[in-house]
């Protein structure tokens, strides 16, 4: 089944959901996020502005969807990738409490037929060290199918197992080349805890990626990725904390002729480590009219050890502040983050160079969510 077919099915499912489910949709959350990131990489620069409009809607307890419009514009020192936008929908169906099935689809971004300069820029903004919100601006139709099974053996503990497939359709990456990105199969197992204000999870996942093909020719062989992540959060009276640690490791990737990519051997395995910490002190300034201003602090650190993968070997650390102004289910968040780092690119020996990374990102997000206000009925429910 190709992505376009899956998308057609998803569209039909979405179209039929309202009348079919016999219930009107209830919007639970809507977000509009705008983020601009600018990186100075040695003497050059890369800049990306991305906007995301998303919403969560539910028809009843069993059917819900996440809808998203995403657009971005990427600019380099010498070149510019034209603006592109795509729409995506993820529809979840939970027929039983333990099972959830998901069907999703995304349209092409509209960015195609890149030239050598924009292709190079596209590759550069995809570097994991930079952590841009739209690391792959050029893309075709994509589809997603997955199933999740979960069980709570005792209160506050959850075991979740999931498997999914991501399908990608070919698109004209260059004027002469139809690029068919790899399909991927993901499996994961997660254990989650939630005990009196604490939340934590530990997740193991594996991804099997197929081969990337250009004009029917394998230009990158398949590979397997393994990942482990730990996350936790604390809701206490003085501070709300959220922390996460991710470690991903890639398997060896077979490239038909590594030398033509400037590589001396088959690339991989590579490792990526990421740590993020967000702290929100429970202090707020009353601005009048019910509006409250709350500060928050974000810290992140990333390290990529590509070991031959065509990514840069580097690290980046960032720190920033967020200010949230809001009341009763509406919130505007403004954030600024300063980032520093360093990377080395190229093979050992000749051609290897190191560059200093300096950057910042500014974000503005408008969020609305449906509030579950305390009920006024305070009687026994029997």
């Amino acid at each position: 089944m190709r992505p376009r077919s899956v998308c057609r099915i998803a569209a039909i499912v979405l179209g039929l959901l309202g009348p079919g489910a016999g219930a009107s949709p209830i919007w639970n959350e809507a977000d509009l996020t705008f983020e601009t990131t600018r990186w100075e990489i040695g003497e050059s620069r890369a800049e990306q502005s991305a906007a995301v409009l998303s919403g969560d809607v539910a028809w009843d307890e069993r059917i819900a969807a996440h809808l998203e419009l995403r657009g971005s514009r990427t600019t380099g020192s010498q070149s510019r990738i034209p603006p592109g936008a795509s729409a995506a929908a993820l529809v979840g169906w939970q027929p039983l409490p333990e099972w959830r099935f998901q069907l999703g689809c995304a349209t092409p971004s509209g960015i195609r037929e890149l030239d050598a300069a924009t292709l190079g820029l596209s590759r550069r903004v995809g570097e994991p060290v930079l952590a841009l919100s739209d690391p792959d601006p050029a893309r075709g139709w994509r589809a997603h199918l997955s199933a999740l099974w979960g069980r709570s053996p005792r209160r506050g503990v959850g075991l979740l197992l999931g498997a999914g497939a991501d399908l990608a359709a070919s698109f004209r990456a260059t004027p002469d080349l139809n690029l068919n990105p790899a399909d991927a199969i993901t499996a994961h197992a997660t254990v989650a805890w939630a005990v009196s204000g604490w939340r934590a999870h530990a997740r193991l996942h594996a991804v099997r990626e197929g081969a990337d093909r250009g004009a029917g020719v394998v230009i990158r062989g398949g590979r397997t990725l393994y990942g482990f992540s730990l996350g936790g959060g604390l809701e206490s009276s003085p501070v709300r904390l959220a922390a996460g640690l991710d470690v991903s490791r890639s398997g060896v990737c077979r490239v038909p002729h590594p030398e033509i990519y400037g590589l001396s051997r088959h690339p991989g395995p590579g490792t990526l480590g990421r740590f993020v910490l967000a702290a929100e002190p429970r202090v707020a300034w009353d601005l009048g009219g019910g509006l409250r201003l709350r500060p928050a602090l974000d810290v992140a650190w990333r390290r990529v050890l590509p070991e031959g993968l065509p990514f840069a070997d580097g690290w980046a650390s960032s720190a920033g502040v967020r200010l949230a102004i809001g009341k009763d289910g509406h919130e505007l968040t403004l954030g600024g983050i300063w980032e520093r780092g360093r990377w080395r690119a190229g093979e050992e020996g000749a051609g290897r160079y190191a560059e200093r990374l300096r950057g910042w990102r500014m974000s503005a997000a408008l969020r609305w969510w449906r509030m579950a206000a305390p009920a006024s009925v305070v009687e026994a429910d029997g």
Partner: protein, 515 residues
């Protein structure tokens, strides 16, 4: 041909029969399931609000629906505990474990064992309390024996560690002698915990129980009852919707009670947010349970009640208070070479006169287990009226017996967790399966037992535990990250598209192979 037609006809009939029978059977099973859930809900709610009559009716229905299920007997035990008949409750829990045996699910064994030892202990305390409150001692009951721990003889040369070891051995010896009276043998020996309480003439305060307030306080199911409890409880911090406000002294200010329903709803939402519940402000079953538990815990901390110690000769006074016919006095001392000598005699509880020839023996290091067995059997055989042999009991190693005795000492002041660890150590040192069982039974805290109970009842009422929707959302979003969150996918070295491997130079020339 005819045979084929007949076969088809038979298949059609069987199919039609199945169509008719299966839905009916399924419906009956479903109705039974519904009934079961409804009656469990009914019994649980009735127990919470103290409606004993409805609870009894619901439990009877449950017993009829599933005679083999441990739940009705468990609920019966809980009701008896609530009514203050803790000794009977302990008997119920014990009966379920012994009757159902290996067919019980592990979580039921854990819960029932934990309840059993605690109810038995509190049942002993109730019994001793009523014995201490009587103005005149009861008449002695023929065949009832009081066994106190063997007293260590004071030897000047003994170190503190040796004395502690002797005390522990004395406790373990008394426990084994008491255990030598099995259910089917004539006579009875009073439990060690009751014996110790009788000797000290004092009963600890009942945890989490304040009869005066319980009789006057409105039930937690009513708005007033919830409000009065919220007025007593201290929050951990400010409400989640006013995070910068100062922490209030109570969830609900006293003047708010009975004035504004919304004030109580806000206080309830505040309480719920700090106790792991959705802050809805609704007084649902989970909130009622949590509120009542928090209130009881707080009251227990404030309660303190104790009786003055008895002034008479402790051992004889204890035996008379218990209505025992005889008492065992025993001593234990360390002798050279690390061996231990013991002496014991049965005396009359009435006047302290000897009723049997004094016994003595050695517990040598080398053959401790055999000597221990001899101690138990000879004392049991010398008991007045003993006409049956002692049942076969496990013979511990010396280290096992000492650890077991130490665990018994730790149970007395209520240090259940430490006692459990010591029982486990005793089991590892060869004190037998009883040590392992006691370790498991004392291991969970009261709060943990309550949580297990909630989980089991919740499962009986609503089916298996439901997943937290936040987890499901997070995991489905993780699976779909390539579609709706490409930045997140890239952060784990995944590339949704294959541009990474297109060469920057000479990108128009693709050299590869067709798979």
């Amino acid at each position: 041909m005819k045979r084929g037609r007949g076969l088809c006809g038979a298949l059609v009939l069987v199919g039609a029969g199945l169509c008719l029978v299966t839905p009916r059977a399924a419906r009956a099973a479903r109705d039974s399931e519904t009934d079961w859930s409804a009656w469990v809900q009914e019994a649980t709610t009735a127990l919470q609000v103290g409606d004993d009559e409805t609870a009894r009716l619901a439990i009877t229905r449950l017993q009829r629906l599933r005679p083999e299920d441990p739940l009705p007997a468990y609920l019966e035990g809980r009701q008896l505990e609530r009514m203050g008949r803790r000794g009977e409750a302990a008997d119920r829990y014990r009966a379920v474990i012994l009757d159902c045996g290996s067919s019980l699910a592990p979580e039921w064994v854990e819960l029932l064992s934990g309840r059993w030892v605690r109810a038995a202990r509190r049942g002993d305390e109730d019994w001793v309390r009523s014995a201490l409150e009587q103005e005149t001692p009861p008449a002695s009951v023929p065949g009832r024996h009081l066994v106190l721990p063997f007293e260590p003889l004071q030897v000047e040369e003994a170190t503190a560690a040796q004395r502690e070891e002797l005390v522990a051995l004395g406790h373990a010896a008394a426990y084994w002698v008491i255990s030598a009276w099995s259910a089917d043998s004539p006579g009875e020996a009073i439990g060690l915990h009751a014996a110790l309480l009788l000797r000290q003439g004092q009963v600890p305060p009942e945890p989490g129980r304040d009869p005066q307030s319980e009789t006057t306080l409105a039930p937690v199911t009513t708005l007033m009852g919830a409000a009065l409890r919220l007025q007593e409880l201290e929050p951990a911090g400010p409400p989640p919707w006013a995070p910068d406000a100062a922490r209030p002294e109570r969830y609900l200010e006293p003047e708010s009670v009975g004035e504004r329903v919304t004030a109580v709803a806000s206080a309830l939402a505040h309480f719920q947010s700090e106790h792991g519940l959705a802050p809805s402000g609704v007084l649902d079953a989970a909130t009622r349970q949590s509120l009542e538990r928090a209130y009881r815990t707080q009251k227990a901390k404030r309660a303190a009640r104790a009786r003055p110690p008895a002034t008479a000769d402790p051992a004889l006074a204890a035996a008379r208070l218990a209505g025992a016919e005889t008492a065992l006095t025993g001593t234990i001392e360390a002798i050279s070479g690390g061996d231990v000598r013991w002496s014991a005699a049965w005396i009359s509880a009435r006047d302290g006169s000897l009723l049997s020839v004094p016994l003595s023996g050695l517990l040598p290091q080398a053959h401790f287990a055999e000597a221990w067995d001899h101690l138990v059997r000879s004392i049991r055989a010398a008991a007045p009226g003993a006409d049956t042999a002692a049942p076969r009991l496990p013979s511990p190693t010396r280290e096992g017996a000492v650890s077991f005795g130490r665990a018994l000492q730790l149970v007395e002041p209520g240090r259940a967790r430490s006692a459990s660890e010591m029982f486990r150590r005793a089991a590892r040192a060869g004190a037998g399966s009883i040590a392992r069982w006691l370790a498991d039974a004392w291991s969970p805290s009261e709060d943990l037992l309550l949580r297990w109970e909630e989980e089991l009842l919740e499962r009986e009422i609503h089916g298996p535990q439901r997943l937290d929707p936040a987890w499901v959302t997070e995991e489905t979003r993780f699976l779909g990250r390539r579609l709706v969150d490409p930045g997140r996918a890239a952060a784990s070295l995944e590339r949704p598209a294959g541009l990474a491997f297109l060469p920057e130079q000479g990108w128009l020339q693709i050299i590869g192979h067709v798979e």
